[in-house]
Symmetry: C2
Subunit: 499 residues, 2 copies
Amino acid sequence: MNLQESLAALDRYQRKTIAYRHALDMIYYDGVTVAPEGSAANRGESMSILSEELYALTTSPQVKDLLDSLWEQRNALDEAHFRMVFLLRKSQAEMEKIPVDEYVAYQKLVNESEAVWHRAKQENDFASLVPYLDRIVHAQRRFAGYVKPGMDPYDYCLDNYEEGLRRDACDAFFTMLRAELVPQIHKVCASSHKPDTSLLHIHAPIEKQRLLSDALMNVLGMDLRHCALGETEHPFTTGFTKYDARITTHYYEDNFSSSMFSVVHECGHALYDMGVRDEFAYTCLGSGVSMAVHESQSRFFENIIGRSRAFISHMAPKLRELFPELAHASNEALYGAFNESHPSFIRTEADELTYCLHIMVRYELEKALFDGRISAADLPREWNRLYREYLEIDVPDDRQGVLQDSHWFGGLFGYFPSYALGSAYGAQLLKKMEETTDVFGQVALGNLAPVRDWFQEHIWQYGQLYAPKALMEQAFGGPFDPSLYVDYLTRKYTDLYAL
Amino acid sequence: MNLQESLAALDRYQRKTIAYRHALDMIYYDGVTVAPEGSAANRGESMSILSEELYALTTSPQVKDLLDSLWEQRNALDEAHFRMVFLLRKSQAEMEKIPVDEYVAYQKLVNESEAVWHRAKQENDFASLVPYLDRIVHAQRRFAGYVKPGMDPYDYCLDNYEEGLRRDACDAFFTMLRAELVPQIHKVCASSHKPDTSLLHIHAPIEKQRLLSDALMNVLGMDLRHCALGETEHPFTTGFTKYDARITTHYYEDNFSSSMFSVVHECGHALYDMGVRDEFAYTCLGSGVSMAVHESQSRFFENIIGRSRAFISHMAPKLRELFPELAHASNEALYGAFNESHPSFIRTEADELTYCLHIMVRYELEKALFDGRISAADLPREWNRLYREYLEIDVPDDRQGVLQDSHWFGGLFGYFPSYALGSAYGAQLLKKMEETTDVFGQVALGNLAPVRDWFQEHIWQYGQLYAPKALMEQAFGGPFDPSLYVDYLTRKYTDLYAL
């Protein structure tokens, strides 16, 4: 094959893998949105077969030869094809090093474990998950040994979600953050200035909340020809390609802000995926580059934009129209309520100021598990101890503690730091954006085009073309500076709580 | 491989094909229910790649060798495995004989054609479909030549949907039916007894219609752990396996009976698929055996049960509760309205008495197309001529004429006769069932268990184990007798219209 033929074969191979991923993600998406409950085993059967087919394709000698031959000719490749071959060889090498039977057994294990978690959470039954978690951690440590024999296994986990991230950088980031945030949190708790949070717990019929979702997607500028909203238990976003993104939410009649900010958060993810360049759509570059960069977008829209005074003022008339109980709530009262801050049990409901402490608890526990300092059975005790230490609260039960998130039970170790990193990236992106854009002036008018345009230019279009660190430094115009995140939070909460 | 190993390989092969079909049907189902509009091209790309993968699997030398070796040992196979090997070899032989490039080009052609149909129907633009239809008919005639060189091409089409069905049997069936039904239709038209159909066109909010769907599925005894209802433009049923069936409906606020009888119809399809034996679930025997047998179930539930006096009396209180405008409608008034009969333009809205004439028009046109007596461009003229001849009405435009159904534009030639045959099978099944079961006495009480049990015992459990003709003759306890269908219709409409 000459270079042109090899590139055509590369294109076919990538389209094929994307078709398989489309099938797998589609069956998953269906499963958590509209599928009947008793179809789970059937879905597991199909997904496991299709995963094996994809595995066989990815690790086939033909594909390996193709990628090797392209790598040998890498000097003749353009930037995008160079990166594609680099990324595809990396994931192929990782897959190849894990024995297929262990890979398949692991997939089965996490599928079962996730299913057990759903029941265990309802029944506050952590004990039934202990054998699963122990086996998951054990398998991941073994995989790390296969793929990156010289690397610390937890660093391998971090690197899976954030290319290049290591625990020393994480440690430094979290240590600084904790030192700066804890005094702020103490001040907020001590403040006599308290928002009226009863506004958040009015009765909000689901039909009205669906209209609110429509209004939010409209203001955010979602292209509804390529993005649909579904309903699920635990909101998430998936994209088959940039041309077909799916966001999800969950409506609670007594807590409309839960879905409101979920929708804004998931729109951030979808905007990123949908903003990638057309020519990357059916390639491995065609989606967001890492979890932290993804969260930098979703949490930017959710918090920096969505929980801003400007955005809430713009949405307030719609809220008052949809929910008559809010008829007399002022813009400021809504702004205060949506940003109420206090140490709490549930990460996904935490305010911006306390959020990262929830992440730190998980980060410390993940390291301890991977270092073998604790085992799965110790998690509830250690979880509760760290919530006391970091957030100064006593976790009443595991449902509101170690069982709240699905991540670990689905094998996602090393993922949590992305949320905190992404949040911090957001503050630095805001600062940079404000150098050229009147962000909140436009948001107050309901015009998010300047924000979208800025992200489109600096982040979204690139997909996975650049490694996450390089992409962010290019967008920041310099190195990552987490003190900007502390500044942002300090400014916001000093104002909110009249500190 | 010894026999046991071959059977294990056969099981793996069938599970694999079912996983691919799951993926393809899932992506299709998503596309016509919740997917964003602009995702069609993306979906087409993935489906075409996955279809090619499935084609490659089905026609692979390994699978061919496996099936051939099992066929050589067929005397050692049990009834089910014998039938599996027979059916799989048949479809493999058909696939093999069609050159892969023609197969792929044809898939692309019908995908495009279906998309053009959606727009063309809206715009009453038959002309844009002529080149597609000509090519589809041409391709199918060519495929018939490849696969069954000695067979009449239209017989090949019929056989695709109803193993063993030939045009001589169809001709005899339709000739008898037309001779018997047309005088009945004349009598109904002349009757002074007219139901009050304004009951059908009250304002029925979609939320209320959704509750009606729930009530209907409940009475029909649908197992909602394994069946979900979605919303779409043109209702249909799909089943990934017996453990995951999906029915769909479309709500019209000014015509609640449209969705009401769609739901009952699609439940009939789903009950059949869900009733197959567990051990057939992941095999080629795991769904209904033919389109006519499938329609015999769906149209049985829709018409023989759903439009019966007994069923309507049972549902009437629910209808009056949901739709206050029906508060004073008597059971008899509802029964009359739901069974109003008159020659009309749209097949899917036709009453039981005139329904088969719609099918005959399509059947005559399909034969003429495949015999080369007319070409696609002649269809609107010939359609309108036959509607005048058979139903004595003048079709006002192609939207209410030749463009109304998607079948031809998706390549489904030879499918329509199944609806009429299935309807006629239903009457004979009812007669047999009534020998041992007080069908309508139980239906009036809302108890459909005896009907389900009868079908479960005589039809559903078998899936594709027996050829359709054998299955039906076994259920009938003798040969097919379409005069029972004429008797059923005569009895019903003589009573309804006091003939």
